[in-house]
């Protein structure tokens, strides 16, 4: 009977998703298709990469099967560990949103339905979402392994089952923690904690991946890469559910000599136990915990005073300054935005580190001779790129991030041009700051670079083009329901928007790099290296075009949003 209730809720959720997609306008449908395609392409790319790697192992170490198996175990376990980290990063938020923040929970909990049926439906819904989101990173590696080894269909099924049970175990544990937290913590505090935890964990992942990438870049030889991955002796991490999964699946292959049952038993027990525990506890804790969702945390007076206090009477006014000041103030208070800034800084730091190591390895003479143009252009383009990725989640979507409060600007006497340029400045700030700071920093290093003033001028022009692109995209395709959390959107539509913004910015930076590298491209044609002036002019023309776009069509479009929406 109760399972029937659960199914009714789930069926309604599924129906509403598909009905909404069926009746959605073409733009939304296209967005959905783009996500699905992106998901498929990324999965295929991961799988293909892994397949090549396993193929390389087979070709290189086919003669030493024990060594090959050991490396394969470590690789598979490493990929499962990566899935686990993604589950921690994405899964906590997915579960939190589904179990705690679903808009229909108030309605459902008022119905004459057992609490655990409501919780169970939300539990299954978030589990499904988690499977969709994380299978991309885990399953393709196992499929590639099976394909490279020529294994039968049974192994594919076993690997999928192992993966699903692992996710169920993780999801059960996360739900138990969530139930415990929601029972004893006020809603706002809990959200802050989850966001902070995910942010720190995400930054750790970035650092570790950058470290591995740096080692790989420096090593060059795939054998060394595999060895370095194998060094972690991941199979000795017996206490992790990922190890149980790896053991469970590989237990079906005698050549690995792994105790499969020793993997399956704890994994299945954990999955069943945590799920059962969460459902039983939900009957006692869920309703009380959920009802505390709107608990308010009154910030300490002293801290609040610091927020807004009195200001001097001589501040700059008008639409441009007041909007820019408001946006920067809100940025300062948005901890999740700092996440993207930190990630960009880490990326830039590792880029510098890799370049410096390369220069030291090759000797300064070698670095400064030949293709120093590539290095010099990279030194301008990289900070613009990192800044643009940051602004793709901040200033680049700042019009959309006005959200439901956009009425304040629409009802206020705000001219479209002033508002557009406030948003443009906000979008341009991260790449400008990154580029300026990085170019000044380069002056104190041995890395090849153009003169400071030339670099700054080129950086400003490139920033102008990229920021105009981001603002143009936001003005033409605004999404006022967008909420950015931890470098991604909290909604499906918003995710597409942020992805499109980020990738198109990256593409534009690539195009700008191509323009700056024109002398190198035409060198083979005999045009020689005397073309920098042409490439600078081309860049200036692009910047001029971007400015004209902002003053013309983009302003008109924003005027329409302000007066007719």
């Amino acid at each position: 009977m109760t399972v029937g209730f659960m199914w009714t809720i789930l069926r309604r959720d599924l129906r509403s998703v598909f009905a909404a997609k069926g009746k959605a306008p073409l733009k939304e449908k296209l967005g959905f298709i783009v996500i699905a395609l992106l998901w498929a392409v990324l999965g295929t790319a991961f799988g293909y990469g892994a397949w090549r790697l396993f193929g390389y192992l087979a070709a290189s170490f086919g003669g030493v099967p024990e060594f090959r198996s050991a490396v394969e175990i470590n690789l598979l376990n490493a990929s499962s560990l990566f899935v686990l980290s993604m589950v921690i990063l994405i899964g906590i938020q997915t579960t939190y949103r589904s179990v705690y923040e679903s808009p229909d929970l108030g309605f459902l909990l008022c119905q004459p339905v057992p609490v655990w049926a409501v919780f169970g439906a939300k539990y299954l819904a978030s589990y499904g979402t988690m499977v969709l989101m994380t299978s991309l990173y885990g399953l393709p590696v196992w499929m590639a392994f099976a394909s490279a080894r020529g294994l039968g269909a049974g192994f594919y099924l076993l690997a999928t089952a192992g993966f699903l049970v692992l996710l169920l175990a993780c999801h059960g544990c996360i739900s138990l923690i969530l139930l415990l937290a929601m029972r004893y913590l006020p809603g706002r505090k809990m959200k802050q904690m989850f966001i902070a935890f995910s942010a720190i964990f995400g930054i750790l992942i970035v650092i570790v991946s950058q470290l591995v990438s740096a080692r790989i870049t420096q090593a060059g030889d795939p054998a060394v890469i595999i060895e370095s991955l194998g060094k972690g002796q991941l199979s000795k991490m017996w206490y992790l559910p990922t190890t149980w999964m790896t053991k469970g699946i590989l237990g079906s292959l005698p050549e690995f000599g792994v105790d499969g049952l020793g993997g399956w038993v704890p994994l299945v027990l954990l999955a069943i136990g945590s799920t059962y525990g969460a459902i039983v506890l939900s009957e006692k804790w869920y309703l009380a915990g959920w009802s505390g969702r709107a608990d308010e945390l009154r910030p300490a007076k002293k801290k609040a005073r610091r927020h807004s206090g009195r200001v001097s009477g001589s501040r700059l006014q008008g639409v441009y300054w007041s909007v820019l000041r408001k946006d920067l103030k809100m940025l300062w208070r948005d901890p999740v935005v700092w996440y993207s800034v930190v990630v960009a800084l880490i990326g830039l730091g590792f880029f510098t580190y890799n370049m410096m190591t390369a220069v030291q390895k090759g000797g300064l003479e070698e670095a400064h001779s030949g293709d120093t143009l590539v290095s010099s252009v990279m030194m301008i383009v990289m900070p613009v790129l990192m800044g643009s990725v940051t602004s793709a989640q901040t200033g680049g979507v700042s019009l959309s991030r006005e959200g439901e409060a956009f009425w304040l600007l629409r009802a206020g006497p705000a001219s479209a041009r002033a508002l557009l340029f406030a948003k443009f400045t906000y979008a341009a700030l991260p790449p400008l700051i990154f580029t300026s700071a990085f170019l000044v920093f380069l002056e104190f290093t041995v890395l090849p670079h153009v003169s400071l003033w030339l670099g700054l001028a080129l950086g400003v022009l490139a920033t102008l083009v990229v920021a105009a692109l981001q603002i143009g995209l936001d003005v033409y395709f605004p999404d006022f329901s967008l909420k950015v959390e931890l470098g991604a959107s909290s909604g499906g539509k918003g995710t597409v928007k942020i992805l499109i913004g980020t990738f198109s910015s990256m593409g534009m930076v690539g195009l700008l790099a191509g323009v700056l590298l024109m002398p190198l491209i035409f060198r083979s044609g005999g045009a020689g290296m005397g073309l920098p002036a042409v490439s600078y002019l081309a860049l200036a023309a692009m910047a001029l075009g971007a400015t004209m776009f902002l003053f013309g069509p983009a302003t008109k479009r924003l005027h329409r949003l302000l007066t007719d929406m």
Partner: protein, 277 residues
């Protein structure tokens, strides 16, 4: 002060607002009534320049809203039906932002914020982030935003929703003060008591068409020809004009099946008799 001339908004074949004509003079509070989905919010949005009319014109303080929206918006204050605000700003910062947008001198902004916060009893919480504010408190902040620029024309879309009785009374007093000092107030509401007691004139819209307009007394005499002597409440008039009478019958029919129907119908008849004098 406020003038709508043949104001029309069409979405495909549906006319959300059809050929609406009205005007509100200085010193007047105009109550805009209508059932859900009648076109009240669409009308207000066109009048304040948030929505372009398909045809017709909206004028605010002598300015054509569509032609010069920025000038028109400088003269008006607007409170939307849902109080969405920037959650990462404090109440004082949001008001300061609105003041800066309107280029009000900073000293005046600070003074005005102090007054408004005191008026709405938010002084203690003015430096807290709006994310922690309740619906009613946000509503007060939105009303304060609209009042900050001392507008000559004020539009309020369901202003008392979410407010406690004390704050609702305060809002009513503020609107009266604004009108008495020569301002024009346009208020859409479902609370007929507000319209009856506070508004100088009332307009009733249904299916996008303004079906009645005038003072409450005028509407009473127009709506029930031949029964000039009877005293009808605005609620009765509203239901009569918007077709709510049929629902009354349905409710009566449904309640006759209910166990407590005798008591309810007795009470309701007594209430009717009492109200109709």
């Amino acid at each position: 002060m406020i003038r709508a001339v043949n104001l029309t908004k069409r979405y495909g074949s549906l006319a959300a607002v059809d050929n609406l004509n009205l005007s509100v003079k200085p010193g007047e509070i105009f109550g805009f009534l209508g059932p859900n989905g009648a076109g009240k919010t669409t009308t207000i949005k066109m009048l304040v320049g948030l929505l372009k009319p398909t045809s017709g014109e909206a004028w605010i303080a002598g300015t054509n809203v569509a032609k010069d929206p920025v000038v028109a918006k400088r003269a008006l204050g607007y409170v939307p039906d849902t109080p969405h605000v920037h959650e990462r700003l404090t109440a004082r910062e949001l008001l300061r932002f609105v003041g800066d947008l309107r280029r009000i001198p900073p000293e005046k902004i600070e003074k005005k914020i102090d007054e408004l916060m005191a008026l709405f009893e938010l002084t203690d919480r003015q430096d807290e982030l709006l994310g922690s504010f309740s619906h009613g408190m946000r509503q007060k902040v939105c009303i304060a935003c609209a009042l900050l620029g001392e507008p000559r024309v004020l539009f309020l879309d369901e202003p008392t929703v979410g407010l406690d009785p004390r704050s609702a009374r305060l809002v009513k007093d503020i609107l009266r003060t604004i009108a008495d000092s020569g301002g024009a107030v346009f208020v859409s509401t479902h609370v007929l008591e507000i319209a009856e007691r506070m508004c100088d004139r009332v307009g009733i819209i249904q299916n996008g068409v303004l079906i009645a307009e005038g003072t409450v007394e005028e509407l009473r005499s127009k709506a029930v020809p031949g029964k000039e002597g009877a005293v009808f409440s605005l609620e009765d008039l509203f239901l009569k004009l918007t077709g709510g009478e049929e629902y009354k019958e349905l409710i009566r029919h449904l309640s006759s099946d209910h166990p407590s129907s005798d008591r309810a119908s007795a009470g309701s008849s007594a209430g009717d008799v009492e109200r109709r004098g």
